[in-house]
Every structure is written in structure tokens, then in C-alpha cells.
């Protein structure tokens, strides 16, 4: 008994002593160079106790004696350190293929950074390298396929400087959405333009109110939050990096055209007979044949190599004057027009990090020669990013970005533009584009521009050189582009200056001044020569006619923020509390002045407003906006595995009725359950379940509350004109309410070899300040009212797997999949069932357009269809279709979007990246196909019918299109319909159904093979620290698209296209050197 008692006492004492000896150990985790390892993981081995180091690698953890700490960090080797008797334990980790995944750092509004572990909403993170795989010039295009739930809508490369739009989780409003918010180091940018992927370190994508509520109204469409690169401490070499690349763009995707029939309206060649009064030189062509030039369609004669007079033969002064040619197919003529684009990107960056100073300066030169003749874009970007620790308490941050850009591009992909507006819709298939280029300066004897679309020779009238020699609707394309100029100069300045004061270990206060300013200056010239050579052209952008024009447009926009931020971070027992709060004062200003000539130029060749034939047209726009916000957010973590967070923000804006304010809030919970079951289930490396919700309100547009009377710029004999504004504004108008809920599960297995992240989200947007079109008989055409509801839900799924991880071959696959389950218009306003959403040319007649209709998905394509009875078309007595009005063709939104990124590491030095993205679902209307078919340009207008006879042959000879259907009584009937009549009916009878196509595609978007030169072995290691040579390709392969002829990821408008510029692909090389 005594022995037992003493043993018991001993054990008790030991226990007490042991408890008394449990203590707090602090320390710092750094790498070999002394750089802190942010958010390194510090666990007590064999227990569930663990903490996350902070952004500076500092941690503090409660341990018992004899505890062993397991310290790990992304891409570092995990180490185990016995605590021993130390109270301060600083550890150094070595680089290595760690089995831990990098503790992801999520950046949110106001530059607030925290661990991915503690984030309750689905935030997707990408590194700069993942996005900049092939050095795309456009940050938005580079994100395609890499973010679950994102649809990237790009534009053709021919539209230099054009912006791509990112839809995160579908669409939110009743009008066309503006896309996600772009934020660079806390500064809000109006779009992805001017953001240089070379300078971005990482991206956090916040999908909706649950994640982005802290942005307030700006966060409604989600946010792409980018952090600029900073210098890394202990980097080898002098800190200079040089990155040079060149890529060559060539046209890749154009529609399928027929190559059997030449231009004109006449299926036979006409005989030319010289008449007195015509130019004497034309006698050489007497007795020869020509096809109709003046009709710009291709219902002309069959191209069989026969002798004919080409359009240029009628004009003197070149080697082909007055000579015939052979009428042969020109299958590559459209492709031949476009030039090879050249994109050169050169980036020089210098970084230096010392104990007190972190400086990175970077200059990028972007030089693009466009694929359209004479077009270019040249941009200089300067970025200086510095942080200086003025003392142990004060830190100064300076971030300065300046972009200067010069562009000359018409970028016109509307109906009847002078490139694709002709090629796809009004064109002669027999045109030799090389001759067009070669003869781009030829004119008539009077100096009128020569054209392939000239009037026929019998229209010759010596008193009218234009009628006799000039094109009817179109110019020689090269001659047109040689005589226009649309030059835009843009200067953007953005950045911030901040001062952070460390009050104590837990509390910091930061004051920031931000600025974002843009000045643009645009000058537009359409030369007098074009007017002098015009018949029925309509190129003048101000008047829609063929008068020469000169216009200018100057804008200035400025955005300034004054921010104050208080940051608190404290560990109390097992709880880690992080809280931030502050205010933000925003002021924006916009001023624009524009003017243009009207009626042409009085003196030819003088491009100045003073030379306008009629009084100039002018505009003067001004607006301003102010907002004052206060916000607070906090997250509390329990033992680094259970977290709760919330945010609240209140905005007062100048656009709201006085006294109103807007509240945005979010809250969420996350639970990293894997920490608790780590020992029981070792194959689960990480498991987290999370849920969050958020609500944010939109603001009204500037001056949206006040409809006013303006004065028109043109007076009528000294009388001014004004008109009653067409919109009625509800005085209680306010911004929409967006509410979102999310739930997600993230897991990783087998030492982070395979993992997935699944989120289900549900969002409702209500009470939009929508311009509801009302019956104009009321006197108003729109009323601005809070109305409508859109309900949407979906899944965002990402996953990764590392199938092979051996020394000489490693393969990692990441995949994203976004499923838009629903994006429906629940209600609009009152009795209104449908609102027009996006319309293009001819939407009042035969084109289809997009509407928002109750009970239908957002963006429903709508137009004239083919009347069917039990699925079979009903035909008229002549075999033509009957129009079914108000037909719905499907939504413009895809159902699934996503991508697959493959990264291979071969023989250590080779890296191969193969990035695919895809989109399934969605429809668009092709006006090019609509008119291209009407004009006999598309391949299907020249096929063989089921008798094996060309369908353009007369029906009496066995030709015609064989049409099957039923008559009015339901009896099955069939007809052979004359080819041209059949293909004309869609336009004549306003049927759009034949031109509705699918937006589905799978595309290999980025390909890059890089070789890291072994600098040590090559002996240049003393001078060059790193050298990587890559071969890259953009859009190398459109693997599959449901419909051909266009790149579905570049369709220019929400409803479709009116004159789509071509899809291209590029190949290039890149050399990256580090010194």
C-alpha cells in the first residue's frame, strides 16, 4: 500500500509538474536566405495542436516538455525539431519538394491577406506563372479555363487593345453585365486593360458577394484581386531580369466559303461590246466577256477557268491593264487579306531586397503589328514597387504604375465594315487578293479609286467619273485601309502611397492615398479621296454615309481614394483573432470633349474641325461621383482548424437619395477537419468544409436619379432644340440587392498528390434599378424602377492530380469545371414579360437578338423561326418555309465552362505546359452567315443536290434545293426550289433560325515548351543566374467546336456577331534571363 501510494503521488506530482512546465514557445520560420516563410505550419507532433505562422513567419505555440514541433512550408522540406528547454525556437527550412501544399494566401479588399485555410468562401488562387504561361498580353485571356465558374469572352486579335470580359458565375443584372472587378495592389482598375501579367505575383478570384462583400457595391460581379511582384530577399545575382518574347499571329479560323461561282447577280458572263464615247483603251476588250461587277453578291457564273475581264483590267497604268484573265477559284482569298501579326514583348525588371528596403522596378515594352494592314499598338509600362522600413515602427510603401500607349486601329466588326463586312457578307468569290494588294493604288484617269465592285461598263458616263469608275458599295480593301486613320493615345497613371505605423505587436494602422487616372486623345481621319471615290458607301462613323470626316475625342478620368485601415492580430489562448477596420473616401471625375465634321470637308485633304462643310457636331460630357465607406471585418480561429469570419461595410454615395446608405455584409464558417483525424486517416492530407453567405447592394449610376433637359448642339436658324427625356425616374430608386450562399468541401489526399475543391453556390439578385421599357404611348420609353429578380445557382469544382512524380518525369494536371445550373429571370416588372437585352444590326427585321424573358434563362436568343408541325417544316405552295414569329433559340450563356492545365517536367530542365479550356452550351446569331448565305458566299449555297446536280442549276435542268415538309393540311410534300430563291427566303421572310449557332468549343489555348539552360554547366553561371528558353503558341488548336467558321470564344457581342473578325493562332519564342 505504501509503495502504491508513493508511486501514485510521484505520478501525480509528475503530472502537476508536467502541467506546470507547459509553456509557450515562440519563434520565426525562415528559409536559408533569411526570408520569412509566410504562414508556415507549426504543429505539435502527435497531437492536434497546431498554429499558422503569420505573414512574417512568426509564430507562438503552447507546448509541453518533450514536445516535438513539426514545421513545414510550401515547397520546403518538413522538419521536426524537439522543443527541448528553449522558449524561442527559430528554424530554417530547406527548399525541397515538400509534401505540403503551399499555404495559400488569399487577398481581399484593401490588401487584406489571410490564409486560405481560414477563408470561408470559395476563393481561387493562381500564381503569376500559372497565368503567364505563354506571356499573353491580356490578363483576362490568360485566365481562361483556369478559374472554375469563369467564362472569358475574348475578342479577335484584329481588334487591337480590345478588352475581354470575364463572367463569374453567369450574369447578374437585367442588362448586359460589366464583368468582374479588377484590383491591383488595392487599386481598382476599370478593366483588365493596362494590367501587365509580367508584373503580377498572384491572383485571388473572389466569385461573388460571399467573398467580395468587403468591396461593397463594386464587388457585385466578383473581383480579380492581383498582387504586384516584390523583390525577394537573398535572391542570387544582381537582381536584374530580362524577359523577351516574339510571337507571330496568323489567321486560323474563317467561315467555309463556296469556290464554284464568281461574283455578280448574273449567272452568265456578259459580252462586252465597245461603244463610241467609252474610253478608247477599252477597245482592246471588245468582244471579251465579264461578270456583273456592280452587284456585290456571288450568284455569278461558274468558275471553270474561262477567259474573262477582271475588274482591274478596265483601269490604265499597270501591267494587267486591258488584258483578260482566267476565271478560276480563289479558295484562300479571304485568308490572304490578313497580314502576319507580330507581337514583341520585352520586359526588364530590377529587384533588390535588403533588411529595410524592398524595391522592384519593371519596364515592359509591348509592340504589336496588327493583322489588319497599317494597324499597330505600342505600349510602354513602367512599374515601381517599393517598401521601406523607415524605422522599427514606420513602413512606407510606394507603388507607381505608368502606361503610355499609342494605337492605330479601326477595329470595326460591325455590319458593312470594310473588311469582314465584305468578305463574309458581300463579296465576289473570284477575287484574287494578291492582285488586290498589288494594285492598291490604281485609279481611273481622273484619280477615282479603282474597285472590284465597280459599275458595269455600259454604265460609263463621261460626265460622272464616280459612277463610271468607282465601287458601288466597296473599295479595294487595301486602298480603304490606306486612307483611314484612327489613332488613340492613352496615358494611365495608377498606384498608391501608404504609411503603416506599428502601434504594438498586435495593432497596426495604415493610411493610403490611391490614384487612378486616364487621359485619352483620339483622332479620326477618313480621307477626302474616299469621298471622291464613293457611290453607296457608308464608312463615315458619325453620319453613316460616305462623306470624308475628321473627328477628335479627348477624355480625362480620375479616381482618388483616401483610406485608413486599422489592423489587429492577437492570439488569446487557443484563439487567433484577426480584425481589420477602417474607412475609404472615393472621388471620381470624368471630363470629355469631342467634335467631328459634318457633311464632309470643304477643302479636300485638310483634316481640321475648321474645315467642316456644315457646322461641326460636338459633345461635352462631365460627371463626378463620391463615396464614403466604413467597414470592419474579423476572423477568429480556434487552434487553426476552426474559423468564423464576418465583414460589414456601409457606403454613403452621392448617387443615392440623400440620407440613404448601402450595407454589404458577409459571414462564414470553415472547419479543417483533417487536423483532427490526421492520425486516424493518414491518407487524407487536408480536408476542409466551409459555408458562407454574403449580401451586397449596388449603387445607382451617376445622375441616374435625375433626368434632365439638354440642348442639342445644332441650332435651327438660331433656335435651340430640346426634348423631354424619355425616361421616368422613380424617386425612391436604389441599387439592387444581391444575396449569395455557398457551401464547399476541399480535400487533398496521399500527401497532396490528388485533391479537389467543390463549391455549391446560390445567388438571388433582386430589385434592380432597371430601365424597364414601357409603352411609349405613355410619353416615356423607359421607367427607372426597382424591379425584377434573377435566381442563379451552380457548382464550381477544381481538382488536381499528380499522376507521375519521378525524378525525370513529373506530370501535374489541374482542372476546373463550372456548372451553371440555373441563371433564370424570375420576374421583371408589372405585366412586362420580356425586355430587350442586346440587339444588333437588322434586329428590327430578320436578325435574332437577345432578350430577358420571365421564366427563361438570362439572355434568351429570340427571332423568326421556321414553322413546324410535329417537327416537320410546313411549306408554302412554292416550297418555301413559313415564318414562326417569336421563336426562342436558347440562352447565350454556356452551361459548363472550364479547363484542364497540364504541366510536365521532363529531365529536370524541360517544362511543357498544355492548357485547354472549354465551354459547352450557349447560342449566338451570325449576321455574317445570314447575309453570306443571301449573297451566295457560304459553302452550302453551291453544293450538289440529292440528284448530284449543282443546286444553282435551273430546276428544269435538275437543279434546285430539294425541300421536304408538309402542306397546310399536314400531307407530306417535297419540292425542288430554285437555289437563289431558296437562300434568299431567310432574309426576305425574316427567318433567323438558319443562322443560330452554338458557342460550344474545346480549345487548346496555350502551349509552351521551356528549356532551363544549365548555366553552371555552360560556364556562364558567373554572369547569368537563370536562363529559360521557351517555344510558345497561343490558340494552337481549336480541338472541337460544334459549329465551324468562327472561334466561339471570340464572338464579339452578347447576341452574336455582325461582321466577326477572324480567329488567329500564334507561334513564338521567349527568352528569360536572370542576372
Amino acid at each position: 500500500m505504501r509503495r502504491f501510494l508513493s508511486l501514485f503521488t510521484m505520478l501525480m506530482l509528475c503530472g502537476v509538474l508536467a502541467f506546470a512546465q507547459s509553456r509557450v514557445v515562440t519563434g520565426k520560420v525562415t528559409d536559408i536566405d533569411g526570408n520569412p516563410i509566410s504562414f508556415a505550419s507549426v504543429k505539435v507532433k502527435g497531437t492536434s495542436t497546431g498554429v499558422s505562422a503569420d505573414a512574417n513567419g512568426a509564430y507562438s505555440i503552447k507546448v509541453n516538455p518533450n514536445a516535438i514541433l513539426e514545421i513545414s512550408g510550401a515547397s520546403f522540406k518538413t522538419i521536426e525539431v524537439p522543443v527541448g528547454t528553449q522558449n524561442v525556437l527559430n528554424t530554417v527550412l530547406e527548399k525541397g519538394a515538400g509534401t505540403d501544399i503551399k499555404e495559400v494566401v488569399v487577398t481581399s479588399a484593401f490588401g487584406i491577406r489571410r490564409t486560405g485555410r481560414s477563408t470561408s468562401a470559395n476563393v481561387q488562387n493562381l500564381t503569376g506563372d500559372q497565368v503567364n504561361t505563354i506571356r499573353q498580353t491580356n490578363v483576362t485571356n490568360a485566365l481562361a479555363g483556369k478559374v472554375a465558374g469563369a467564362q472569358v469572352r475574348s475578342q479577335s486579335v484584329a481588334k487591337l487593345g480590345a478588352e475581354s470580359v470575364v463572367r463569374l458565375r453567369g450574369e447578374n443584372g437585367l442588362g448586359v453585365g460589366g464583368g468582374a472587378l479588377y484590383v491591383v495592389d488595392g487599386t481598382i482598375m476599370p478593366s483588365g486593360a493596362d494590367i501587365n501579367p509580367d508584373d503580377i505575383e498572384d491572383y485571388s478570384i473572389l466569385q461573388g458577394p460571399a467573398a467580395a462583400a468587403l468591396f461593397g457595391p463594386d464587388g457585385s460581379n466578383g473581383a480579380i484581386v492581383m498582387t504586384l511582384k516584390k523583390a525577394k530577399k537573398g535572391a542570387k545575382g544582381i537582381g536584374l531580369e530580362l524577359n523577351m518574347g516574339i510571337q507571330f499571329d496568323n489567321v486560323y479560323i474563317v467561315p467555309d466559303y463556296q469556290n464554284s461561282y464568281a461574283g455578280g447577280a448574273n449567272g452568265d458572263l456578259s459580252l462586252y461590246q465597245y461603244k463610241a464615247g467609252q474610253p478608247v483603251a477599252w477597245k482592246a476588250l471588245d468582244g471579251k466577256y465579264y461578270h456583273d461587277y456592280s452587284d456585290d453578291a456571288s450568284w455569278g457564273p461558274r468558275m471553270a477557268g474561262q477567259e474573262y475581264i477582271p475588274w482591274y483590267a478596265w483601269y490604265p497604268g499597270h501591267e494587267y491593264s486591258f488584258k483578260t484573265a482566267k476565271l478560276t477559284p480563289q479558295p484562300t482569298n479571304v485568308r490572304d487579306f490578313w497580314e502576319t501579326g507580330v507581337t514583341r514583348t520585352t520586359n526588364v525588371a530590377f529587384s533588390k531586397a535588403t533588411d529595410n528596403l524592398n524595391l522592384r522596378a519593371s519596364y515592359t515594352n509591348l509592340d504589336i503589328k496588327g493583322i489588319t494592314p497599317n494597324e499597330y499598338l505600342k505600349r510602354h509600362t513602367l512599374n515601381v514597387n517599393a517598401t521601406a522600413e523607415l524605422s522599427s515602427r514606420f513602413t512606407l510603401g510606394v507603388n507607381f504604375n505608368y502606361i503610355a500607349e499609342n494605337t492605330n486601329t479601326e477595329s470595326d466588326d460591325g455590319y458593312s465594315n470594310q473588311s469582314t463586312g465584305s468578305f463574309g457578307q458581300w463579296f465576289h468569290r473570284d477575287l484574287d487578293m494578291n492582285k488586290m494588294r498589288e494594285l492598291r493604288t490604281i485609279t481611273s484617269p481622273e484619280g477615282v479609286f479603282a474597285s472590284w465592285n465597280r459599275n458595269n461598263p455600259d454604265a460609263y458616263d463621261p460626265s460622272s467619273p464616280r459612277k463610271s469608275w468607282a465601287g458601288n458599295y466597296w473599295y479595294n480593301f487595301y486602298q480603304y485601309f490606306d486612307n483611314i486613320n484612327n489613332s488613340i493615345r492613352r496615358d494611365r497613371l495608377f498606384g498608391d502611397v501608404s504609411l503603416t505605423y506599428k502601434i504594438n505587436n498586435d495593432l497596426k494602422i495604415k493610411a493610403t492615398y490611391r490614384k487612378q487616372q486616364l487621359t485619352t486623345n483620339q483622332e479620326v481621319i477618313y480621307k477626302s479621296e474616299l469621298e471622291a471615290s464613293a457611290n453607296q458607301m457608308s464608312f463615315n462613323p458619325y453620319e453613316g454615309n460616305s462623306f470624308a470626316a475628321y473627328g477628335v475625342n479627348n477624355t480625362f478620368s480620375d479616381r482618388q481614394n483616401y483610406e485608413g485601415l486599422l489592423m489587429y492580430s492577437k492570439k488569446i489562448k487557443s484563439f487567433q483573432i484577426n480584425a481589420q477596420g477602417g474607412f475609404d473616401v472615393l472621388k471620381t471625375k470624368f471630363r470629355g470633349v469631342n467634335a467631328n465634321t459634318l457633311g464632309g470637308l470643304s477643302a479636300p485633304g485638310l483634316y481640321a474641325l475648321s474645315n467642316s462643310k456644315n457646322n461641326i457636331n460636338y459633345g461635352n460630357t462631365r460627371n463626378q461621383f463620391q463615396r464614403r465607406s466604413i467597414f470592419v471585418r474579423a476572423d477568429i480561429g480556434f487552434r487553426n482548424y476552426l474559423f468564423v469570419e464576418g465583414s460589414y461595410r456601409r457606403d454613403y454615395t452621392s448617387t443615392e437619395p440623400s440620407g440613404n446608405y448601402i450595407d454589404s455584409k458577409s459571414g462564414g464558417l470553415s472547419f479543417v477537419f483533417s487536423d483532427l483525424i490526421r492520425n486516424a486517416v493518414p491518407f487524407i492530407s487536408y480536408g476542409k468544409i466551409r459555408g458562407s453567405m454574403g449580401q451586397l447592394l449596388n449603387t445607382l449610376g451617376i445622375y441616374q436619379l435625375n433626368a434632365t433637359y439638354g440642348i442639342g448642339p445644332q441650332q435651327w436658324n438660331g433656335n435651340i432644340l430640346t426634348t423631354v427625356p424619355n425616361n421616368l425616374v422613380d424617386p425612391a430608386l436604389q441599387g439592387a440587392v444581391n444575396t449569395e450562399k455557398e457551401i464547399g468541401l476541399e480535400m487533398r489526399f496521399l500527401k497532396n498528390r490528388i485533391g479537389f475543391n467543390v463549391t455549391y453556390w446560390d445567388r438571388t439578385n433582386k430589385d434592380f434599378p432597371v430601365n424597364v421599357t414601357v409603352d411609349q404611348s405613355s410619353g416615356y420609353s423607359v421607367i427607372s424602377k426597382n424591379a425584377g429578380e434573377i435566381a442563379k445557382k451552380g457548382w464550381d469544382i477544381t481538382g488536381f492530380i499528380k499522376p507521375i512524380q519521378s525524378k525525370n518525369f513529373a506530370w501535374e494536371i489541374s482542372a476546373t469545371w463550372g456548372y451553371l445550373v440555373q441563371n433564370e429571370v424570375v420576374s421583371i416588372f408589372g405585366d412586362i414579360k420580356r425586355l430587350n437585352l442586346a440587339t444588333g444590326a437588322f434586329s428590327g427585321t430578320s436578325a435574332a437578338y437577345a432578350v430577358n424573358e420571365i421564366g427563361q434563362p438570362w439572355g434568351q436568343m429570340f427571332g423568326g423561326g421556321i414553322k413546324r408541325v410535329n417537327g416537320v417544316p410546313q411549306l408554302t405552295s412554292t416550297g418555301l418555309f413559313i415564318r414562326e414569329a417569336d421563336t426562342k433559340f436558347g440562352s447565350v450563356l454556356p452551361n459548363y465552362t472550364g479547363g484542364i492545365q497540364n504541366s510536365f517536367n521532363i529531365f529536370k530542365n524541360f517544362t511543357l505546359n498544355v492548357n485547354i479550356d472549354y465551354s459547352i452550351g450557349g447560342k449566338f446569331f451570325s449576321l455574317s452567315d445570314h447575309w453570306g448565305t443571301y449573297s451566295g458566299l457560304t459553302a452550302r449555297t453551291a453544293e450538289l443536290n440529292d440528284r448530284g446536280i449543282p443546286l444553282r442549276d435551273p430546276v428544269a435542268d435538275g437543279g434546285g434545293v430539294h425541300v421536304f415538309g408538309v402542306d397546310a393540311t399536314g400531307k407530306a410534300v417535297d419540292y425542288y426550289v430554285d437555289g437563289q430563291t431558296y437562300f434568299h427566303q431567310f432574309r426576305s421572310n425574316s427567318i433567323a433560325e438558319d443562322n443560330i449557332y452554338s458557342l460550344s468549343f474545346v480549345k487548346l489555348r496555350e502551349l509552351s515548351l521551356g528549356y532551363r539552360l544549365p548555366v553552371e554547366k555552360l560556364g556562364i553561371g558567373k554572369y547569368v543566374k537563370t536562363a529559360v528558353f521557351s517555344v510558345v503558341s497561343r490558340n494552337p488548336w481549336l480541338i472541337w467546336s460544334k459549329d465551324k467558321g468562327f472561334d466561339p470564344s471570340e464572338i464579339s457581342n452578347v447576341y452574336g456577331e455582325d461582321g466577326q473578325l477572324p480567329g488567329t493562332r500564334s507561334v513564338g519564342v521567349n527568352l528569360k534571363l536572370g542576372f
Partner: protein
């Protein structure tokens, strides 16, 4: 660095945040930041009148109506003639010139604004002219579309779904409008912004009576009796001052520049219409000498050909077909009545 009390700083920071948090009234006051500098909140009624008058020419000069009546033939793209009819809405006329005229009436009637509006002419005169012009526009609208909104139209937010009135009711209402408007002129200040008659109430009276006469003529098929409504109205209007010589014609004089005769604009860059053979044959058959006023010399163009036949015809006459004359002449003047 001096040992600044951390507590004091923390306290100050939290207090200042707290102050902001209480949402003092200053936070939501933005002065006139949201006042649109690009416009004013009350209209200048003379400018509204000029605006409405600048558009009435478009009702008298309408290519599409000419095509439907076969006065004009489409000579290259012939779909409209072959019944590919575009959607033409009556409603934009309401939110456009009709709303402008209604606003003139409202501003001159409302005692709060009538004083300011009187700067542009006496209230009564402005109201009368606006009523006459409204009647003219409604007349063209109902002639084209038949039953259209009238009694419940132009009421703004209080009626966003106005009912359609019967054409018969509209006709008699606008005739009544003209009568009352004529009686409503006073001898006050002449109206400003009147680009048709320069503010002359005498000329407007003549215009209104002639309008009544034309409307009555239109009604003769429905009321053919010699003592019926149409005849009575006609006689009543003819008894008052009306247009009886060309000097009184209602002529819009386009100043050029930004405002050009809509007929002239038809041929400015395009060549889509020719004098139609239908009209040419009728005039020829009646030996009507006005054919020389309608079109240039040259063969008239058959109406309603399919596109390829139309192109072929144009080529066969060497593109020299007769074109609509009043489109080609410079003509700054457009006669309404």
C-alpha cells in the same frame, strides 16, 4: 523615439473609428455632386416646340409610305415591296414629339411654371399651337395605324399601359382639339421657336382650319350624306380663315447643315428608289402632266420585282431609270399642307 503611450494612440484610433461609425449626418451629404451639369431640370418651351416642328417633316416625307402606295419602286433590294415588312411602331412618336408638345401644354397650364414659360410667348398661344400640332401628328399616326392610344396616352407614370381608342373617336377628338385651339389664341406675346409660321397666330388659325377640312374629307366615305358629319365639319372649317393660296402653305424650310430635307437625304449616299411604273402608267393613262414633277425623265421602274429581276431591269436601262425628282433637287423646303 519618444515613448508615446500606446494606450492613448489606440484609444484615439478607436474613438475616431467610432465617430465615423455613428454615421454623422455629414457622411451622407454630397452637396450637388449628383446634379447633372449636362442639362437643366426645367425645359425651355420654345426649344420643345422647335424640336417637335423639326420632326414633322418626316411625317409628310416618308419613303416607306411611298413604297406601300406604289408611288416609289425599290430598285435594288426589293423585300419591302414583296411584303417582308419591317416592324414599324407608332409608339416612338408618342415619347418623341407628342410628349414634347404635351409638356409645352402642361408647363403653360400649371400655375407654378406658367409664369416662367410665358417668357416664350403667352401661355394661351403656346397651348393653342401645341394642341394644333398634336392634332396634326395624331392625324398622321391614326391614318397609318388605325386604332392607337389617345385618351389615355401621354399620362406618364399614372398610366403606363394606355388603352387603344377607336379611330373614329380619335378623329372627332382631334377635330375638336383644332376647333378649341383656334378659339384659344389670345393677343398676347407671339410664340418663340416657331420655325413654321414665325409665331403668327393668324397663319396657325388657317393651318388648323385647313387641317379640319382635310380630316373631314377623309371622313367622307364613312359619312357620305350631304348633311352628314363630314360635310358639316368641312363647311364649318371652310367658313373660317383657311389656306386658299400658295403663300399660306405650311412649308418647313430646312436650314441645311444638321437639318436637311428628309427627301434629300434619301439619295445622299444610296440609290434605292425609282419612280414606280404603277404611278407612271396611271398618270400617263390620264394624261396627267404632273408626271414631270414626280420623277426625272427616264423609264419608270416596275413595282415588286424580285431582286435579281430588279437588278436585271436596272442594268437593261443602263441604270437610267426615272428617279424621284423631289429627292434630287436641293429643296430646303418641304410642304406639309
Amino acid at each position: 523615439m519618444k515613448n508615446i503611450s500606446i494606450r492613448k494612440i489606440t484609444g484615439a484610433a478607436l474613438i475616431s473609428l467610432g465617430l465615423l461609425g455613428t454615421g454623422c449626418a455629414k457622411m451622407s451629404e454630397f452637396g450637388n455632386t449628383n446634379q447633372n451639369p449636362n442639362g437643366i431640370s426645367t425645359p425651355v418651351t420654345s426649344a420643345l416646340l422647335t424640336n417637335a416642328l423639326s420632326q414633322v417633316g418626316g411625317f409628310a416625307a416618308n419613303v416607306r409610305r411611298g413604297v406601300y402606295a406604289q408611288y416609289l419602286s425599290e430598285n435594288q433590294y426589293t423585300e419591302t415591296s414583296l411584303y417582308a415588312l419591317p416592324l414599324l411602331e407608332h409608339a416612338p412618336t408618342y415619347s418623341g414629339p407628342l410628349q414634347d408638345l404635351q409638356t409645352i401644354i402642361d408647363y403653360n397650364t400649371d400655375p407654378k411654371s406658367a409664369g416662367l414659360a410665358a417668357a416664350n410667348g403667352s401661355n394661351a398661344n403656346q397651348i393653342a399651337i401645341a394642341r394644333i400640332l398634336k392634332a396634326y401628328i395624331y392625324w398622321t399616326v391614326t391614318d397609318a395605324w388605325g386604332d392607337v392610344p389617345y385618351s389615355e396616352a401621354l399620362l406618364g407614370a399614372s398610366n403606363l399601359t394606355p388603352k387603344f381608342d377607336k379611330q373614329e373617336d380619335i378623329y372627332f377628338s382631334i377635330i375638336k382639339e383644332c376647333k378649341e385651339a383656334i378659339a384659344g389664341f389670345d393677343n398676347g406675346a407671339p410664340i418663340k421657336g416657331d420655325i413654321l409660321y414665325g409665331g403668327s397666330t393668324a397663319k396657325w388659325t388657317k393651318f388648323a382650319n385647313s387641317l379640319r377640312m382635310l380630316m373631314a374629307t377623309r371622313l367622307t366615305n364613312k359619312y357620305p350624306a350631304a348633311g352628314g358629319k363630314a360635310a358639316v365639319e368641312f363647311a364649318d372649317a371652310a367658313a373660317g380663315p383657311h389656306i386658299d393660296n400658295n403663300a399660306d402653305n405650311a412649308v418647313i424650310q430646312y436650314p441645311g447643315g444638321g437639318y436637311q430635307n428628309p427627301w434629300y437625304l434619301v439619295y445622299q449616299t444610296r440609290d434605292d428608289y425609282a419612280s414606280s411604273k404603277t404611278l407612271g402608267d396611271i398618270l400617263g393613262g390620264l394624261s396627267d402632266s404632273r408626271s414631270t414633277v414626280f420623277g426625272t425623265p427616264g423609264p419608270t421602274f416596275p413595282y415588286g420585282l424580285t431582286r435579281d429581276l430588279a437588278i436585271a431591269y436596272g442594268n437593261s436601262v443602263g441604270n437610267a431609270q426615272s428617279r424621284v425628282l423631289f429627292c434630287l433637287q436641293v429643296s430646303d423646303n418641304l410642304t406639309l399642307l
